[in-house]
Every structure is written in structure tokens, then in C-alpha cells.
């Protein structure tokens, strides 16, 4: 049962904890969607082109739902996206990492790793004490399940021969350490508050453990090995959410804010709602 019914009843500490929880969720979805769109018209079949375009659209929809939660705390869309300092985004590095050119295995392995993490993360928020978080979970979860199915099906399809399996193996080796950072907090100092308020009902290390187990079982079943990553040694140089590929992130940021900047708009059409959000 939610005990924090909406934005009007929050203390400053509760607001800060909610922001620390929701910004990484929103930014992961948004930034990954921006990367997925690069596959438009380049996927290996028309069906997969459509599917990945749809996944990107879903993730933008989920980003919109999460940005709405923080918009209700007083942010507008330019502040949330188009005028936010690129250093102030909280996405995990996996989401902004450039795709290896033409490497479809990268796209589907990344989707599988991300969407498996996403499913676990959503489960841990279904009983959130903050009602606007809990109320969104079933809507989003229903849409995420298709993503995981799509990615897993493609991975198995690629693994029908040794050459294909090697492309999957290479993608797993490269992406797995970055995916672990999905379980890093956005603001480490807020982790205790998030958990004591009951905003999330499971700890990040516990979610990461489940994720490692689920993904390892899946890859074992198709003879793909999962790199042994002993935390924190095996992680990318910066094991937090902050992006070690800063140049690639700045380039992506530059792309998705370009139209906003070039039009020099004082106001932009919103993807977050101007309407009250329940």
C-alpha cells in the first residue's frame, strides 16, 4: 500500500529521494531509445526494423511516464531534457554506448541485458510507497515483456551456427560489464533513504544478483559464456553510472538537442504532460 500519495504531500528529503530514484529510470529509457533509433532502416529484416523501432517508441513512452513523475515535482521539459547539462544525466553507460557498426548482435544482446534488468527493476518498484511510481509499473511491465522475448528470440536465432554465436559472444563480452552498472545508484547518498522510505522494495545488489543468475542461465543454455566479473574490478574504469565514453555521449546529446537549439525556441512542444498526473 502506498503511503506517499502524491507530489503535494512530500518533504524536501522525500522529494530528493524520489528524484534520485526516478531520474536514472527515465534517463536510461530515453538515452537507450535515442541509440535504438540509429537502427532505423538498417536492421537486417523489415520485421526486425519495425520491431526495434517499436521498442524505441516504447522506451520513449516509458521515459515520458518517468519524466512525468519528476515534472510533477516542478520541472519542465526543457529543464528535464533539452537544456539539462549533459553531465547531469544519470543513464548507465550501457545505454549511450555506440553500437559497433552493423553489429546486429550488439543491438539484440544489449536489449536482452537491458530489458532483463528493467524487468527486475520494475518488479522492485511495484510495491513502491510513492503511489505515482507504483501506479505505472503494470502498464510498463506489460510492454517490456515483448522486448525481452524479441531480443532472446534473435539471440537464439544468431546462435544457430558458430559464426553467429561468435558475434553474440563478442557482444556479451563487450556489453556485460557495462550492463552491471544498471544496478549502480544515481545518487549513492540517497540509497538508504530510498530503501527506508520504501520507494524501492529490494536493494540494488540483490537485483544485480538476480540479473546475473537469470542472464547466466540463459546464455549457458545457448553455449555462450558470460564473463566472470568480480565487482568492482572487472567493471569499466568508472564503475558508476557516469559514462566512461564521454565523447560518444556528448555526440548523442548534441544530436538529440540540435533541433531544439537551432530553432532557438523559448518553448518546445512537450513530451512530458502539462496535465496533472495521477
Amino acid at each position: 500500500m502506498s503511503s506517499l500519495s502524491g507530489p503535494d504531500v512530500l518533504s524536501a528529503d522525500e522529494r530528493a529521494a524520489i528524484e534520485a530514484l526516478v531520474f536514472p529510470l527515465a534517463d536510461d529509457e530515453f538515452v537507450l531509445a535515442e541509440r535504438y533509433t540509429e537502427w532505423q532502416v538498417r536492421a537486417p529484416t523489415l520485421e526486425s526494423d519495425l520491431a526495434l523501432a517499436n521498442v524505441a517508441q516504447d522506451e520513449l513512452g516509458h521515459a515520458r511516464l518517468w519524466y512525468d513523475v519528476v515534472a510533477d515535482l516542478g520541472y519542465d521539459e526543457p529543464e528535464l531534457l533539452f537544456e539539462r547539462d549533459p553531465d547531469a544525466f544519470y543513464h548507465a553507460s550501457l545505454c549511450a554506448l555506440p553500437f559497433e557498426t552493423g553489429d546486429w548482435a550488439d543491438a539484440v544482446v544489449r536489449s536482452y541485458l537491458y530489458d532483463t534488468a528493467e524487468g527486475l527493476r520494475l518488479d522492485s518498484l511495484a510495491g513502491s510507497a510513492y503511489a505515482p511510481i507504483a501506479n505505472r509499473i503494470e502498464r510498463i511491465t506489460t510492454e517490456e515483456e515483448y522486448h525481452r522475448e524479441h531480443a532472446a528470440t534473435w539471440i537464439k536465432r544468431l546462435c544457430v551456427d558458430s559464426e553467429g554465436r561468435q558475434t553474440v559472444q563478442n557482444a556479451v563480452d563487450r556489453l556485460y560489464p557495462y550492463a552491471l552498472a544498471l544496478f549502480e545508484p544515481g545518487e549513492p547518498t540517497q540509497t538508504d533513504v530510498i530503501e527506508s522510505l520504501g520507494l524501492r522494495t529490494e536493494s540494488l545488489p540483490s537485483l544485480r544478483g538476480q540479473w546475473i543468475q537469470t542472464t547466466s542461465t540463459f546464455f549457458d543454455s545457448i553455449d555462450v559464456s558470460v564473463p566472470v566479473v568480480e565487482l568492482p574490478q572487472g567493471l569499466p574504469e568508472d564503475p558508476g553510472r557516469h559514462d566512461p565514453h564521454v565523447a560518444a555521449w556528448l555526440s548523442l546529446y548534441d544530436d538529440f538537442t540540435r533541433t531544439y537549439r537551432e530553432l532557438d525556441r523559448a518553448h518546445t512542444p512537450t513530451i512530458t504532460s502539462e496535465h496533472n498526473d495521477g
Binding site: R136, R139, S273, H275, D277
Partner: protein, 133 residues
């Protein structure tokens, strides 16, 4: 279907529209709230010839001191018609006297599913060529 199969839609078998908590269709609404539902019945989904009331997107309507509050859901989170629908609803409802302002609350729980479509709506979708079975 087995017990293990994930079922994407809740089952409301054996219940009538009026027994379901949502969506709201205004069957028992009176006065100005009834007129708000009638206005909402003139708003169609942008892709299908069916009103948003029959589609089951309206979860509640209330009117207090000239302010109409409409609880609205969308068929899915990435719906690109969100602003269009909200603006159309506000324009239609604010035409009603004595309503001065229409405030829309987007709600996501419970998530919309095909079971939320009314019997009339299902018939309209079938004739349009959309299977709802």
C-alpha cells in the same frame, strides 16, 4: 491457456460494465457530469472510428465549482496522440456551460486492455475490420 501463460488482459467475464470500477461510461451520471460524458462521446480515437468513452479511456469524471476533472488513460505508454486527445477533450468540455476549466489527470492503473472496450465499441471495431476476440 495454462496457468503458467502470462495473460495480457484481465478477465471481467460475468461482470457488466457498471460493475467494473473502470472504465467509467457515465451510465449513472446526472446533470453536468452526464453532459461531460456526452461531450467525451464526441471525441474519437484518432486511428479508429470509436469514441474514447467506448474505447474505455475514461476512468472518471467529476465537476466542482466550474472545474471538470477527467481521468484519462491511454492504450499504451508511447501513444503519440496524447497531446491531441488532451487538447480535444479540453476544448469540447470547456464549451459546456457552466464549466470554465477542464483538468485532465492521466492515470495508468489499472492499465488499459481490450476488455475495457464497450460492447458497442467492440461492434464498431469489428465492422471497421479490427478483431477484438
Amino acid at each position: 491457456m495454462t496457468a503458467e501463460d502470462p495473460c495480457p488482459y484481465p478477465s471481467y467475464e460475468g461482470t457488466t460494465d457498471s460493475e467494473m470500477p473502470v472504465p467509467a461510461r457515465g451510465e449513472t451520471a446526472t446533470g453536468i457530469e452526464r453532459r461531460v460524458f456526452e461531450a467525451l462521446e464526441t471525441v474519437e480515437d484518432p486511428e479508429m472510428p470509436i469514441s474514447i468513452v467506448d474505447l474505455g479511456l475514461i476512468y472518471g469524471v467529476s465537476v466542482t465549482d466550474g472545474v471538470a476533472t477527467v481521468e484519462l488513460t491511454l492504450t499504451y505508454s508511447g501513444c503519440p496522440a496524447r497531446d491531441l486527445l488532451c487538447e480535444t477533450i479540453e476544448a469540447r468540455v470547456e464549451q459546456l456551460d457552466p464549466i470554465e476549466t477542464c483538468s485532465i489527470e492521466l492515470v495508468w492503473n489499472p492499465p488499459w486492455s481490450i476488455e475495457m472496450v464497450s460492447a458497442n465499441g467492440k461492434a464498431a471495431l469489428e465492422s471497421f475490420g479490427v478483431s477484438v476476440q
